[in-house]
Amino acid sequence: MNGELIPKLKDNISHIKQLSGNSSDLLVNEFVTGGVHCALLCCEGMVSTSVITELIFEPITAIEAKKDSKELFHYIKEELLLSTDRPEVNDYDTLFRLIDSGFAVLIAEGMRTALAFGVQGYQSRGVQEPSGEGNIMGAHEGFAETIRTSMSQIRRRLKTPELVMELMVKGEKSRTDICLCYMKDRVPQELLSRIKGSLDEIKLESILSTGYIRPFVESQRFELFSSNGTTERPDVLCSKLIEGRVGLLVDGVPYAIVIPRLFCESFQTLDDYAFKPYYATFIRWIKYMAFILSILLPSVYTAIVMHHPELLNSTLLMILVEAERKAPLSIMTESIGVLLMYEIIREAGVRLPKPMGGAVSIVSGLIIGDAAVQSGLISTPLLTMTALAVMSGLCVPELNPPITVLRFSFLIAGGIFGLFGISLLACAVLVNVCATEDYGFPYTAPVSPFKKSGMGDTAIRSGFRKMQNRGFTVEEYHE
């Protein structure tokens, strides 16, 4: 498809149709203007019909006779100014890429080049509130699927020439637009060049979500937690860019990849910076606690009840003994069963059509849950612990996948070996988390390696008067 354009119009059109496999959505409008035979090519559904009619057809068909097609092209390109984005096309590869991106391409008799006009008009979801990163006092605007819209959302918030957005195309078949965003005065140059190097390694046929790219920009070792993150909020991405990080936008995906991502950032939200520091600090510690509870609560409960009942005071012990006495299964089996049930219900709730979500909640929460307790299959304290653990996990939605797997792993370790098993697994998990790093940025910074300067936005949330003098960039954490 890299061949040069054929100058003879009829042959050119036939060749284009042949290359496209006579695809039904390729529209070819032949006409004569300025005394030259031309054709306007576009993809149905990708262009705005009204824009084409008003801004392309009307002015083009009104052109007076020209000496030849070369003069006609010169006139259209240099004097008519039909659209702001009007690249020149020299080969079929570019021609198809532009047509498939919503451009209208003008070819003419005797010309080895073509003119493309940006008249995109495809249907897309508009800017909406982010579904997974809600907040109270910040902007209620999330990224859109259209990459240009997402780029404009960032530019609107960072009106500085230091903000650089580099567009590139990846995916042999999908030819997906990818935008690399960074602040040229903040980003560590080594990080930038290494990310570009990683992106060059992508030889995928298609890129349909951020998940296709993320493995290329993270370490190849087994990591429980991902060293790069995603956000669907332009304001969050802007705050990361200012700290010297790199953002990656993928066309068709309303999420941006942030590189590098730190563990402590999963507990930070934009609302933290809208509230008073003391309240933000309080909320942040609630989230840290929720994270620990979400992973360890079912396993510690099981371990204590099964192996270390002496840790409980006598009143609590009697309550638990009374509750568990009626349950027919072992506590570990019960816990695994309840957690599995929750995961099945959650998965069903996510995949089902929205109108059925309510029905799922009623069936799962009221009928199954209530019936299981009433029938004595599951004890009430265990169900309470499991529900609390699950709810705690929702406080840090970004970490939900590793939390889910770790919860099961710790439960099995605690059920078999009690606190000994939990401690052993905790050591292994801790080392795995500490070994996680991306391009030399440790995931556990600023806790280990300890950076005092970073604790102002980790252990507590300092006020802006303090933070404005910090001049922080992520390079401080580089090892």
Binding site: H308, E310, F417, L419, F420, C427, A428, V433, S448, P449
Partner: protein, 330 residues
């Protein structure tokens, strides 16, 4: 090997010291505190000497340290076996030979994974583990102090001479051998890192020992593992007993201190024999477990271990001195 910070350096060595103190057997008194304090001063002087002479790259020295780390790892495994008799590890017949083997196997498995992630990851994790351990120690210390009897300070009597207590303090500091490897990969001044570590070690040793004496001074004579008993008798929460919580800190300290020995010896094995690159940690661990089995009937905190520790601290300065003399002679 990658660079570690001074705090991480201290944390790695402190976890090993804490683990050794948790497995302290026999009586503890103010006399023991004095001997251990003196021991720390001597260790500090020797450690500074070791740092001053730098690392010796000779094959013989590498061999020595590799064997030393394997030996100290074996001592730690052995200590874990002995102490687990006083700590309830939930496994059927956990005090029997098969139970002990299973527990050691699980710890070895955790250490194998830890060492496979490299010293950088271990050092980062050690810092967090040390912080968790410090919080636990403070809780135990505060709750023990609440129930403490000041007369226990004089009531607790040692059954060893000062010399023997001093030897024990040296023998329990086997983690110091790690200085030879860790000092070379520490960011910034190694002197400052060593200073920081010894200050923290002195504070930790005094805190643990005084807590133990205050809490169990009265029953020291009938206590096999005073530190474990101190954890059992201190009641910070309204629980019936909290010694199971001690298990968490005991396991964490144990896994990290053994993990550091595995990482260090595996690193030296790889340097000596690159062909063992993929199996260095497994080989080291297997030999460590074998060593632990072989020394299971001996006094692990006796003269032999103390001599090994002293040798680990002196071998580099001695080699350097000999080298310098040979150079001067030539």
């Amino acid at each position: 090997m990658n660079k570690v910070t001074a705090s991480q350096f201290s944390a790695m060595l402190l976890l090993s010291d804490a683990f050794a103190l948790f497995g302290f057997t026999g009586r503890m008194s103010l006399f023991t505190v004095g001997a251990f304090s003196f021991g720390i001063i001597i260790q500090f002087v020797l450690a500074m000497l070791l740092i001053r002479c730098g690392r010796t790259e000779g094959k013989a020295v590498k061999w020595f340290y590799m064997l030393y780390f394997v030996f100290w790892g074996g001592v730690l495994f052995n200590m874990q076996w002995r102490t687990s008799e006083a700590i309830y590890i939930p496994y059927e017949s956990s005090n029997g030979i098969w139970g002990k083997l299973l527990i050691s196997g699980l710890i070895a498995l955790a250490c194998l994974y830890i060492s496979s992630e490299g010293i950088k990851a271990v050092s980062r994790a050690s810092l967090i583990a040390a912080a968790v351990g410090a919080v636990y120690l403070l809780i135990v210390a505060v709750s023990a102090a609440r129930n403490a009897d000041i007369e226990n300070l004089t009531r607790a009597e040692s059954n060893m001479s000062f010399r023997n207590e001093f030897i024990r303090s040296i023998a329990m500091s086997g983690g110091l051998g790690g200085l030879s490897v860790l000092a070379g990969i520490t960011k910034g001044s190694p002197y400052k890192a060593v200073e920081k570590y010894f200050i923290a070690k002195a504070v930790m040793t005094l805190l643990i020992m005084l807590t133990v004496i205050l809490a169990v001074g009265g029953i020291m004579k009938i206590t096999d593992f005073p530190t474990v008993t101190a954890a059992q008798v201190s009641q910070p929460f309204s629980a019936q007993r909290i010694d199971s919580l001690f298990l968490i800190v005991f396991v964490i300290c144990g896994v990290f201190s053994i993990g550091v020995q595995v990482s260090a010896s595996a690193y030296l094995l790889r340097e000596l024999y690159p062909a063992f690159k993929h199996y260095s940690s497994s080989i080291t661990l297997a030999v460590m477990l074998l060593t632990a089995f072989l020394i299971s009937k001996t006094d692990i905190y006796g003269t032999f271990t103390a001599a090994a520790v002293i040798l680990a601290l002196l071998i580099v300065p001695v080699f350097t001195a000999i080298k310098n003399r040979v150079k001067a002679g030539a």
